[in-house]
Symmetry: C2
Subunit: 312 residues, 2 copies
């Protein structure tokens, strides 16, 4: 059994690769919900949707999110009604949010809704939100505190960050299966997602970090930082603003208390020694996932690294 | 000031004609909400939307409802999620229901939401739902009682009707402005809508029938029955099943306690004498509205009939 911690696009690509080489039934995916937000009265779970759409073969590959060939007619009309439309929601995509909202209003938990959506779309992987409770990642700048989506999408990540606020983390309990799947896994994979607002949020849910320290699973992470920058998203900027070293080593340090193996890009080979001084086994490969082959190859490399370490 | 009682497509056409010859600010439209229903967690007001879309020039003229050139991608995806999709909701159309539902959940009343939608779409007519309260038209057959939309859309009006149930009519209060606009109007026009489930529902709201009897306005109705059949919808079938004469005369009888003038089609001229024996002035014209010109011509005829009667 393999359990993974996942954010959005980078995670989705690796999970797509993993799903090609591992029976999907053996894959548990714990997904960040700190990005969850409400627009037009609808509950939106951006990372869950990116993962689900990708694994279901529905995703708009060019954008990395949303459904391919989707239209945006509802959003255009919502604009006429005075709604904020900077968060782009396609017409097909909206069905997911309508369905989710309807189920939540009926009393189902987000984890139950997510399972239902997976079943409807024919997914065999077990996808679990990190929590069923309120948890909102917020960004504090010099002037204001805003929801992460506002920082990321509306403002295009231009602000200088002073603090990341995990709003709700004091009370948010891990969703059913989160702790168990970490404790019972043979391998836990930390996907190449933003270490602060994707993986960091999952780690901020009560009991998750401790479970990662306690589990007998081999814990392997893939660095989202390659040669000091990021493939997608604002992780590098955010790390810089917060005084965290913007490198694979900087990421490794954030996971040092529980990580066994760190998969870095070849361009960062010079940092291997420093990573290993943290007590983490460092391995390098080409971590860029441009094609489906890249995804499968990297997934295989990550798995092999964990298996080899287990035998060692 | 003109106040009208309106159902769906037939009413929308006459109101479109009226809006061409009367300043729209002088037009109050009281709309049936007995057809209102909930799908996918969204509040849908079919007759209000038909009227609004028609007057805003947005309506799909061929179907008579929905928005022209709309797509149905969200609905297609909702089907994947196991939702009933026999009630056809286009993507642009959905924005109206999302906006309405969001406002209702925020505590606004349906009349306030309707006003907001009209403003956003640039309409100057005053459109009022008959009630802000729960009111659901239901159809009782030999075997079951179903919502009117289920009878009309899902089952294609094939069932034999035993009773029309105005569920909620005991408690539903007229929306703000309904009674006042009837009492203060110079002319009240009963649109050519289903006399049982469009006009009949409005008449079933507390105080409306009495206001129509009491007002000093001239009250003129247009028959939706032409030559014993209906242009659109199941009014003729419903009347037959309930033992009501399927003719313009049958309609006139339903309004006899308050009506001054009845506009019938030329093909029904033979019934004029019987209508007048009810104490109603009967006039005939071509009441079919196939073109925009037809709408304007009929609206003008209705208005002239009321004005002439007033002078007489």
């Amino acid at each position: 059994m393999i359990t993974t911690l996942a954010g959005g696009v980078g995670a989705a690509k690796l999970l797509d690769g993993l799903s090609s080489i591992v029976p999907p039934e053996e894959l548990t995916i714990i997904v960040n919900t700190g990005d969850d937000c409400e627009f037009h009265g609808l509950h939106i779970s951006p990372d869950i949707d990116i993962i689900i759409y990708t694994l279901a073969g529905l995703v708009d590959e060019e954008k990395g999110w949303g459904i391919k060939n989707d239209t945006f007619n509802c959003l255009e009309m919502l604009k006429v009604y005075g709604h904020d439309t900077w968060f782009k929601l396609g017409d097909r995509d909206l069905a997911t949010h309508i369905h989710r909202t309807m189920m939540l209003k009926s009393g189902y938990r987000l984890s139950e809704v997510t399972k239902d959506i997976c079943t409807r779309l024919g997914l065999k992987q077990r996808i679990i939100p990190m929590t069923d409770d309120y948890f909102a990642t917020k960004i504090r700048t010099d002037n204001e505190t805003m929801h992460f989506q506002e920082y990321l999408v509306k403002r295009g990540s231009v602000d200088v960050i002073r603090e990341i606020v995990y709003d709700g983390s004091e009370n948010a309990k891990p969703a059913p299966g989160v702790i168990e799947s970490i404790m019972e896994a043979e391998i836990v994979i930390i996907c190449p997602s933003n270490p602060l607002v994707s993986i960091g949020t999952i780690l901020a849910v009560k009991g998750v970090r401790q479970a990662l320290r306690n589990t007998k699973a081999k814990k392997v992470a893939v660095s989202p930082i390659i040669g000091g920058t990021v493939v997608k998203g604002p992780a590098d900027k955010m790390m810089r603003h917060l005084g965290i070293e913007v490198s694979a080593l900087g990421v490794a340090k954030l996971y040092a208390d529980f990580l066994d193996i760190f998969v870095m890009d070849e361009v960062d080979a010079a940092l291997m020694h420093d990573v290993e001084r943290l007590g983490i086994k460092a391995v390098t490969t080409n971590t860029l996932m441009k094609t489906k082959d890249d995804r499968v190859r990297l997934a295989k490399f990550v798995l092999d690294a964990a298996l080899m370490h287990r035998k060692a």
